[in-house]
Symmetry: C2
Subunit: 125 residues, 2 copies
Amino acid sequence: MPGRTDGVAACCPRLLTAPLDEDQAGELAKVFKALGDPVRLRLLSMIASRAGGEICVCDLTPAFDLSQPTISHHLKLLRQAGLIQSERRGTWVYYRLVPEMTDRLAGVLARPAGEPLPESAGAAS
Amino acid sequence: MPGRTDGVAACCPRLLTAPLDEDQAGELAKVFKALGDPVRLRLLSMIASRAGGEICVCDLTPAFDLSQPTISHHLKLLRQAGLIQSERRGTWVYYRLVPEMTDRLAGVLARPAGEPLPESAGAAS
DNA sequence: CGATTGCATTGATGTCCTTCGATATAGCTT
DNA sequence: AAGCTATATCGAAGGACATCAATGCAATCG
């Protein structure tokens, strides 16, 4: 449905540098909302930290005290947020991280080096 | 540098490097959940990007098509997440960013340089 | 084939979240 | 003190979300 928009934002929304417009904020909020659940955070970290870059759902589900449909639901939300992607191989489905998305989020939250926030800039010069 | 500030996690949860435990995931999820709303993201960016490091609520409220109590509620959630702090001066209340928190989130999402993700490493060695 | 396993979807339910109007609290002004 | 402005809190209404059991679909196996 949202097919291929410009993703989270054109290039680098820079949360801490300039006010976000409504569209940027809406796109970013979807991704942060996907990260706003402890189960999904643990799923994402299990996927991202897995040696080989991918992990089978069959290894994810038993790690939680939740039903299999619930885990499948959370994986779907992470995928719709653009944070992970899935691939079916035979009977199993493997998930892997989409590092471009986490890179973008890290960039959104980072303050440019050498260009401190206004707060600390006040006394600087 | 802020060594181990209590809060989100001991030092550096490293979302993409090792699986988060339940406590780390719970703490981080609270902060990401606070970012998972377009209004709060715009509020945070307006606060962070303001020259002087702080902004009056009286400048935030009219920027939205929402009631004053709703803006106040969102500011409370951002403050409870540790992302901003407030100070009353006379009649007005000023908000400012807590850069340690956004720094920490950026660190959580970043992959260490020179130590690529398993995906791009291709399970080297 | 039919049975079995792995995963996704559906539908229902209880809980949380966003939003509002009304009201309370804090500080200035006259 | 009385009134005014700025901000926070309260209580309610509606929608969104997490979770589950039941079911559907795909791929392998006997």
